[in-house]
């Protein structure tokens, strides 16, 4: 009984520290379908349109659009439609961008005004209400049988191919399009990854990495000096979400994380992936990263060792409610640690940032010692 009480106390303390920091989070799960899929499903109408005029003041604003193409719904190309939108920057005088063509996702109509459904990407003023579409280029290989999601992706891609320097359009494309959305994403990814334009290469390789392609990750390492300089970075996002566990992938992640020329953000999120995948081949890199001057990297390296010795499961999609949340929090449940983790090691299992410099130094020193011993005993 006493033992059980002590266990629960330690467990509660560890879990509470996570729960305190996670209140109000994990409230929405988007793991089941992609945001663009949901956007397409939730919209009653989807159109390609140009703005004719738009209000510049007030919280809820109105605009008149001229419809160029209709992807979903019973609207007519060439007709005008009045829509409402709520800009995120509600201050009076915030700019209205009135000359760009966009993909508009529309909801219910009321008194002749149709509500726009804003993509979950953010944006400035009017631009938050739509995704950029091409002025002059038609999407490729579309037919009446093409599904709506693929049609939307084709419209967004046409804008990028029309203007490969339009960082805004590229970033918004990457914000909503997932590799699993459509066969078209796979085609575009490979084509762009092999183009002559570094910006398109970055976007293409990023999409491939997001789809789990370890060859693309290895190529990023080989072309790191060029790719690290492109204005719109397609690599950093997928780098921090890579779940591949083969030796080549871990080696590429490790070399990026410890590179002297990779951007700090790449090194941070490559380290995060090494922590999440916690393979034995990652330990040599984590050992080097323990001494990194960036505290996030150093603490994530400690978390990487902690995850490895406790054998915690590889993280999946973003945590949500229910079983996934329980799994995330129970990773820190000390009672669940494997029996073969010795008492001293358990003392140094640590996730998250350090309390202070002393705390950091103690953990870093321990895991350096642990790794040296592990290398010796495992013959690595």
């Amino acid at each position: 009984m006493t033992k059980r009480n002590i266990t629960l106390t330690a467990q509660s303390r560890v879990m509470l520290s996570c729960v305190v920091a996670t209140f109000a989070s994990y409230s929405v799960s988007y793991a089941e379908s992609s945001p663009l899929q949901r956007l397409c499903n939730d919209s009653e109408k989807i159109i390609i349109a140009d703005v004719v005029n738009a209000d510049t003041t007030g919280g809820q604003r109105q605009a008149t659009l001229k419809i160029a193409r209709v992807l979903k719904g019973d609207l007519k190309p060439g007709a005008n439609i009045k829509v409402s939108y709520t800009p995120e920057d509600r201050a009076s005088g915030a700019p209205v961008f009135a000359q760009e063509r966009g993909v508009f996702f529309l909801g219910a109509e009321e008194s002749g005004v149709t509500q726009t459904i804003a993509p979950p990407t953010g944006g400035l003023g009017w631009r938050a209400a739509y995704l950029p579409a091409s002025q002059s280029r038609l999407p490729r290989n579309m037919s009446a049988q093409t599904d709506i999601l693929t049609k939307v992706i084709g419209e967004l891609a046409a804008r990028i191919e029309e203007a490969p320097r339009d960082n805004y359009a590229i970033d918004r494309f990457r914000s909503v399009v997932s590799p699993s959305d459509s066969h078209l994403v796979q085609e575009l990814s490979r084509e762009w990854a092999n183009s002559a334009d570094p910006q398109l290469v970055s976007t293409g390789l990023g999409l491939l990495i997001a789809g789990g392609d370890s060859d693309a990750l290895v190529r990023v390492l080989a072309e790191l000096p060029t790719l690290a300089k492109v204005p719109s970075d397609g690599i950093v996002g997928p780098l921090g979400n890579f779940k591949g566990t083969d030796e080549r992938s871990i080696s590429a992640l490790g070399q990026i994380a410890t590179s002297s020329i990779a951007p700090l953000s790449w090194r941070k999120w490559a380290t995060y992936s090494l922590y999440v995948t916690h393979q034995r081949t990652a330990l040599a890199y984590l050992d080097k990263l323990l001494d990194d001057s960036d505290q996030f990297i150093a603490s994530t390296a400690v978390a990487g060792f902690s995850a490895y010795v406790t054998g915690m499961r590889v993280s999946g999609a973003p945590a949500s409610t229910g079983p996934t949340l329980s799994e995330v929090l129970s990773r820190r449940d000390v009672s669940s640690f494997p029996k073969n983790v010795d008492a001293e090691t358990k003392r140094f299992i640590h996730f998250g940032r350090f309390r202070d410099e002393g705390d950091a130094a103690t953990h870093v020193a321990y895991w350096h010692r642990w790794y040296a011993m592990w290398k010796e005993t495992s013959g690595q």
Binding site: N241, S299, P318, R353
Partner: protein, 162 residues
């Protein structure tokens, strides 16, 4: 609050610049959080080099993070922008045309900013700050867990947190 990316855009068709700083929110156990509210408070701001650029128009709460499909993750996207208006002196440049210079002579406004997670309420006031010298939000009553601070700097041709 972990920095993730800096992106610079041309705020077409207006002339000027738009910069976005993207962050992930990481909990105390090192896990990337998925959908949390945030807010920002500006506690002080100053103009430099004779500029008459206004304080940030917005210091509202961020009700939700924004989705990034490539990362399969939620991000806090903080948007900064300056576009050319009659009477603005000097006029902001088109993004990058000053070489993204961050030399002292290219600083126009700098504001000290605090971030809190778990709430979108920054204490008000809502609406436009009354101009240079005002504050946006109220540090004394803003709610949420303090997670970081930075200078929010507007340069001639771009913006940055530093």
């Amino acid at each position: 609050m972990q920095h993730y990316a800096t992106n610079h855009y041309n705020p077409l068709p207006s002339v000027g610049w738009q910069s976005e700083e993207w962050y992930k929110v990481v909990d105390n156990c090192g896990e990337v959080m998925t959908n949390i509210q945030m807010n920002e408070v500006f506690t002080s701001w100053n103009n430099y080099n004779g500029s008459n650029w206004m304080a940030p128009l917005d210091a509202y709460g961020f009700a939700n993070l924004k989705w990034e499909a490539g990362a399969a993750s939620w991000l806090l996207k903080d948007i900064m922008y300056e576009i050319q208006w009659a009477g603005k002196s000097p006029q902001p440049m088109v993004i990058g045309t000053n070489g993204y210079s961050e030399q002292p002579q290219d600083v126009m406004t700098r504001h000290f900013q605090k971030w809190r997670a778990g709430s979108a309420y920054n204490g008000g006031p809502s609406g436009i700050p009354s101009g240079t010298g005002s504050v946006a939000g109220n540090d004394a009553v803003a709610t949420g867990v303090f997670v970081g601070s930075n200078n929010h700097t507007h340069y001639l041709d771009h913006g940055r947190h530093n």
